[in-house]
C-alpha cells in the first residue's frame, strides 16, 4: 500500500523500501540474486533544491528501471494489467516517461525529427499538467514536478511489488518463473560484450579498438538480433559473429568511388543496383586497392563481361 507522503525525502524512502522488497521476494522465488534490481552505481539523488532533485531523480530512476532492473522491470511491467494493477495504463506510461524525461532533459532534441518532437510534446505536457507550465522556473514549480515524479515512481514500484506477490501465489508460478529466468539468462548486459570485443579485436590484429565505445554504439542492435535466435544459441559464438561483422564493415578502407560515380558511369537511377555495384567494387578494391579510374574501369569490365 502506498503511504501518503508530503516530502520528496519521505517518498524516496518509500521507493527504496519497495525496491528492496521486490528484490527480496523475486530473489527467493527465482532462486537467483539479485531478484530484479542489480546494484545502482549512482548514489541516491540529492533532492534539494527541487530543480536539482528533479533532474537527479530522473537519472536515478532511469538507471533503476532501464539498467539495473532492465529484465525484471520489463517482465513485471508486462504483467501489471494481468493482475488488474494498471487499468488505465498510467503506470506503464510512467515507465516510458522516465526514459522520455531523461532524453528531454539531457539531450539536444531536433524537433524536425518525428520521435524528438513527440518526446518534447509528451514531456512538456506532463510538466504543464504538474505545475501549469511546460517550462518550470520557480522553486515551487520544480517542487511540484519532483513530488509528482516521485509519487508516480512510488505507485509504479508498489505495483511491481504487488505483481511479484501475485506471481508468488499464482497457480502457474513455476511456468512464469521459468520464463522469467529464461529472460534473465538471455539478457546480456553491456559489459558482457566488452571482454568479447577485446578478444575479437586482438584476434583480428586490431588491439586499439576501444571496446566500451564500440559496445555503446551497437549494444542495442546486437541485443535485438540475439533475441531473434533459437534458444540454444551460444552467446560467445553468436556475439562474436556480430562483433566481427561490425569490425569488418566499420574499419575497412574507404573506397575511392561513390554511388554517385556509379550512377553516372552506368547511367542508372538510384536503387538496389547501385548498392550491388558498390559491393562488387568493394570486392575488387579489397583484392587490390587501386585508383578511382582503375576501379571504375575494372567494374565496367566485370559488368559488361557478365552481360556478355
Amino acid at each position: 500500500m502506498v503511504m501518503a507522503a508530503s516530502t520528496p525525502e519521505a517518498l524516496m524512502y518509500q521507493i527504496v523500501s519497495r525496491v528492496e522488497e521486490v528484490n527480496h521476494v523475486a530473489s527467493r522465488m527465482l532462486g537467483i540474486s539479485p531478484g530484479v534490481f542489480g546494484p545502482v552505481s549512482l548514489g541516491p539523488p540529492k533532492l534539494n533544491p527541487a530543480e536539482v532533485g528533479f533532474l537527479r531523480s530522473i537519472s536515478w530512476l532511469f538507471v533503476l528501471y532501464h539498467e539495473a532492473g532492465k529484465v525484471g522491470v520489463d517482465f513485471l511491467a508486462d504483467r501489471l494489467s494481468t493482475y488488474g494493477l494498471d487499468p488505465n495504463g498510467r503506470l506503464s506510461a510512467h515507465h516510458r516517461l522516465v526514459r522520455q524525461l531523461r532524453t528531454f532533459q539531457q539531450h539536444n532534441l531536433d524537433v524536425g525529427k518525428s520521435c524528438d518532437r513527440a518526446t518534447q510534446q509528451i514531456c512538456e505536457q506532463w510538466l504543464r499538467d504538474q505545475c501549469g507550465t511546460p517550462v518550470p522556473g520557480t522553486g515551487g514549480q520544480w517542487k511540484r514536478c519532483l513530488l509528482a515524479l516521485l509519487s508516480e515512481a512510488l505507485q509504479f514500484l508498489e505495483a511491481l511489488r504487488q505483481t511479484t506477490r501475485s506471481i508468488e501465489q499464482d497457480e502457474s508460478r513455476e511456468e512464469i518463473c521459468r520464463e522469467w529466468r529464461f529472460r534473465v539468462k538471455r539478457y546480456h548486459p553491456p559489459h558482457a560484450f566488452d571482454d568479447l570485443i577485446a578478444k575479437v579485436a586482438t584476434d583480428m590484429g586490431r588491439e586499439h579498438v576501444d571496446p566500451a565505445r564500440l559496445r555503446t554504439r551497437f549494444h542495442e542492435k546486437w541485443s535485438e538480433e540475439l533475441d531473434t535466435l533459437r534458444p540454444d544459441y551460444e552467446f560467445a559464438i553468436e556475439a562474436r559473429k556480430l562483433i566481427e561483422r561490425v569490425l569488418l564493415t566499420e574499419t575497412t578502407a574507404v573506397l575511392p568511388i561513390t554511388g554517385k560515380d556509379i550512377m553516372e558511369e552506368f547511367d542508372i537511377s538510384p536503387g538496389p543496383l547501385v548498392g550491388e555495384l558498390l559491393q562488387r567494387a568493394r570486392t575488387i578494391y579489397d583484392a587490390k586497392p587501386c585508383s578511382r579510374d582503375i576501379l571504375l574501369g575494372q567494374l565496367r569490365q566485370e559488368v559488361f563481361g557478365l552481360h556478355e
Partner: protein, 1140 residues
Amino acid sequence: MEARLDDFYRRLKRGPAFLLLGQNYLRLESGVDSFLSEVIRKYGGASAEKETYDEILDSGAVSSPESALAWMDDRCRRLSVPRWLKTAASYLWNGVYTSAIDSIWPSCFRTSWREIQPLFEEKYRPSDPRNRSLLHCTFLYGCVNRAEEGERPPLTRFDYRKRKQIAISLARRLPEAITPMGVLAIEGHAGDSDWFSLDDLLPILDELNAGQTHIFSVTQELLEHPDVKELTQKGKLLLHQEGLAETLVRGEGLGLLRLGGPPEGEESGRRIQLDDEVLTVPRDLWNQVSRSAIVLDDALLLQPPPLSDEARYREFRNFLSASDGKPQWSAYARGFAFPRHFEKTLRQAVDKSLGARTLIDDPVILHGQTGTGKTVALAALAYGVRRTGKYPVLFIERKTQRPVQSDIDRFCQWAEHCGAPACLLVWDGMLEPKDYSECLKYHSSRGRKVVLVGSSYRIEDKFAREPRFVLAPPTLNPSEIADFAPFLNMFHPSLGELLRRAEAPPDDSFLVALYRLLPPTRGSIRAGVSREAGHAEELILQRASKIRPEFRQVTALGRALLQAGVITEEQLLTSETKDVGGEAVSEVQDLTGLVMVPGRFGLRVPLELVVRALGKHGYSNFMDLLEGVDILRSFEDSVGNIDVGPRNALEAKLIVQARMGGARTETAFAKRLLLEVTDGGGGFPDSREIDFAVELVRSMGAQGQERAHFAPYFKDLSAALQQLREERGVEHPRLMLQEANLLREWAVDHAKRGEQDVDLEGSFHQVGSVLRRALDLLGDERRNRILRAHLLIELAAATAARARHVLGRPDRSHEAIPLFDEARNAIFEARKQDPSSLYPIDVLEWATEAMLESSVLDERAYAEAVADVLYALQTVEEEDLNLEQQERLHTLRLKFAHFVRMEEMAEEAFAALVAQGSSAGYYLRALRMSGLPETSDDLSDSSSVERLRGALGYLEEHRSHFSRDERCLGLLLDLWWMVQTQSRFFDRERKLLPLSDEQWQHCLGIIHDLEATSTSHRPTSIAFVRGLALFHLGSVQEALEVFREVERESEQVRGRRRVIRSYMASTPSGQPRRFHGDVRWVAEEGNRGEVWVEELRHGIRFLPRDFGRPNIARGDTLGEFHVAFNFLGPIADPPGHLRP
C-alpha cells in the same frame, strides 16, 4: 545476399504480406510451449514423447469446456509473448493466419497504430482483408478467449475433425488475399503434428506462384517431407533455417524494409497541431476515418529526409509517373509539384470559405478536362492548408469505393470538439458537383463546418461562372510556360533546355506527357545536352523528327507513348479492333485491355477481379505481365485494397483508341470484367467489386460522358449484368438498377427512332421485372431509402416510357392509362422515400406532359394529373436544393405552366371539375388565385399578400369539400402560414412568430387534417410545425415527443436547415419569450448539456460554447435565455444571438 532472401525482402516491401503462425510458435524461443505445458498440467492428456496439441483433445477439459477455456485464456495473460514475435509483429503485415489457439500472440499485434480484427468463421468476409491498420487475424482453429461454438477451439476429436473443414475453407482464401504480387511467411509450423497439417497446407500453397511462400525455422522433418521437396523443386516453397524475426532484423539492418509501423503509427503520428494545441486522434477514430479518407497529420509535415541529386530526380519522375491516386506527400514537401496559376484562385476560394462564420452548403469545385493537374493541385492545396496549422484536413483520393460519410462526420465532430474552427475536406472524386453538394449537406445538416473541395470534369453551364467554381485550363498560359523551365532546372540545370529542344508544344496533354518526355536518369540529361545526338535526345528528338506531318496533330502524350514504344504510329493513327471473344489476343494485350477500358474513365480495377478475368494462367503470369508493361500500375489504398490502373486516364484513353478503335471491343472487355464480379457473400455488404461494376457501367452508360459512343451496346452491357445475376447468383440492387437503366435507355433510343423490328415491349417489361425484384430484395430498411427511391424513379421512368411508347400506337393508346397510373404511384412512393430529390418530379412532369398531349385522359383525369404536377412543384423544399437544382425546379415550373396555360383556363372549367367532385378543381383554382409561386417572392408586398389571402379565403370556405385531399390541405397550410407570418416555411434564421393561441390552434387543425391523409410529401417539416404549435400551446411534453420523432426522421433532411435555428419561442405579439434555468447535465467533453427550464418544467439542450462558458458545471445557472428550434428540437439560445 542470397537471391531468395533478396526476393523475399522485395516481395515483402511490395506486399501484400501475410503471416501464417503455426502451433509451434511458442516453442521457438525457449524450446518449451508454456501454454501447452500448463494446459496439460491442468487437464492431463495422453502421455506422449513430445507435447502436442492433440493431447488437449478428449482431455479433462471436455468435462467443462467453458470454464476450461476461460482458465486457458487466463493463463495466456500470465505468459510471455516471445521476444522474436514482438519483432516479427512490428512489421506492417496485411493479414495473419494461425493454427495456434492461444490468446498470447494477438496482444503484440495490437499496437498504438494497429487494431486487430479476429476472424473465425467462413460467413464473415471482410471488405478490407488486407488492411494494415485493422489487421485481420484468422484463427483457423478458434481461440481460447471465445465461448461461441463456431469460435472456440475444439476440445474433442470429433469437434476437431469438424473444425478442420472450416480451417481449410478459411485458409483457401489465402491465394486471393495474397494475390500474385504478395508473399506468405510461415513461422512456427509444427509439421504433421500441427492441427493445420502439411496435407492441408501444401495444396493451398501450390496455388500460389513460385517464390511466394517462405517457410522459416524449418525442421528436419519438414525438409524430408516428399511434398515439401516437390514444391521446393518447383520453386513454390523457399525454406529457411533462420527464423523469421532474424531475417526481418537483417533486412532492416540492410535498409531493405522497415519495422515499427507506418509513419502515422510513430510517436508524432496521429497528431494534429492546431495553433498551439496538439491534438492526438484516438486510434479507433483514426482507423475508422482512414477507411474513407487520409488524415493529414503532423507526420506528413515533417521535412522528408534529404536526397542526392540523382535520387531527387528519380523521385521527381516517380512523382510525375504516379501523380494520380494516393498523394506522395513528401513530394509536395520537396516542391515537386509545379504550381499552376489557377491554384491561387482555388486557395483564395477555400480560404474564404474556411474563414466564413456560417455553415456551408456549397462545395468549391475544381473542374477541367483530364490531365490538367487537378489531382496535384488538390493535394497541394490540402498540404498547403494543413501546413498553416489552423485546420484539420482530410483528403479523399479517387477510388471506386465512395467514402462513408459517417466516418468523415465523426472525425469532423471530434475536431470541432477539440476546438477546430472548421475542417477542410479535399475530395478528388471527379464527380458531378451535385454529388459533392449532397455530401456537404450531410455534414452541414449535422452542424459540421466542413469546407469541401471536389474535382470534376469540365463544367460548361452558367453555374460554373460562380467564384466557387475554379477552372483548371488544359494548356499552360504564357506566364506558366515562362515559369516552367526554371522549375525543371531545379532538378537539373539543363532540363528546361532539353525539353525545349524536344519541341514538345505545351498542348493539353503536356503535363501528362512530361513523365515520358523526361530522360530516365539524371546522367542522361547531361549526356543529352553535351552530345547533340546523345542517348536521351535520340529518344526524344530523333523520334519526334520522324513524325509525319499529319502526326503533328497528335498530342504531346501521343508522341511520348510512341517514343516509349507503348503504341505504334499505325495503332495511333488507325482504328484497328481486336475481337476478344473470338480471336486470340496476347496476354499483355488482354491485361492491358482489361485495365485500360475502365482506366480511360479514371477507374481502377480491383486486383482480384482482374486476376479472375485473366483466368488461372493469368494468375501465374500476372507479375510478369504487370512488370512488362510500363503503362500499368498497382495502387494500394489506406486499408490495403489493391487496384490496377493506368498511369493516367488520358494515357489510357489514347491507348484504348489506338489499340481497340471501337466501342464493340471496349464493351467486350467490360463484359468480361462484369461477369467476374462477386458480391462478397450474402446480403448487400459494401463491396469494392460491386462499386467498381456500378461505376464502370455508369461511365459507359447513359449518365457517362460518352453516351453516344456506347449507346449501341447498352443492351449488351445490360445482358452481361443479367447473366451475372441469373447464372452467377450476384443479385445486387445497385447492379440491377444499372441493368434496368441500360436496357431502358436502349429501348427509349430505339423507340425514338421508331424501330419496329426490336422487342421494345419485352425490354420495358423486363426492366419492370428487374426493378420490382430489386425492390423486393432491398426490403424496407431505413438506411436503404435513397437506393429504394432511385429504383422507384427508374421504375417510374421505364413505365412512363412504356406508356409513351403505346401512346404512339393509336390502337393501343388506352393501355397507356394504367401504365401512367403505375408510374405516378412509383413517383409518389419515391418522393416519400427521398423528399429532397427532384428526379421524381422531373419524371412526373414529362410523363404527364406526354399523357396530356395525347388526349387519352378525360377532363377530370386531366385536371388530377395537372394538379399532381403543380402540387409536386409547389411542395419541393427549395431550401434543400443547390443552385443548379433550384434552377432546374424553376425551369420545370415555367415549362409546365407554359404547357398547361393555367392562366387561360376558364372559370367554367374549374366549376365543371368542382361539380364532378374533383378536389383538383379547388386546388387548381386556389393556386391560380394565389399567383404562386411568384407572389411568395416578396411577402412585404401588400398586393401579393392580398392575392394569397383571397386564395386562402376560397379554400377555407370550401374546406369541407376536400377534407382528405393532400394537395388542397397542403396549399391551405402554405397560404395560411404566409398570410399569418409574412414568411415562407424555413426562409430565415430565428424567426419570431406573432401568433395567438387561436391561430396556433387553427394551424394545428390544418396539420391534423393534412397528416390524416397519410400521403404528405414533406412529413418531417409538417411534424416540425406541429411540434412548434404544441409548444406554443403549452403542451410541452407532447411537443418534445414530436421533436424527438422529427429528430429521428430528419436524418433524411440534407442541408443546414436541419441544424439552423429556424424559429424562436415567441409571444403572441412577436417578442421572444424569456426563460431561466440551471444546468442539469454536461457531457464529459464539455460540448453539450441539458438545462432545466423553470418556465417549462422540462429540460432542453444547450451548448456551453454558445454561452461562452466551456467550464460550466451541473447546478450552475444559465441566466436568462431564449428557446430556439431546429430539427433536433428546442435549444437554449443566448439572448444576444437574436438580432433585431
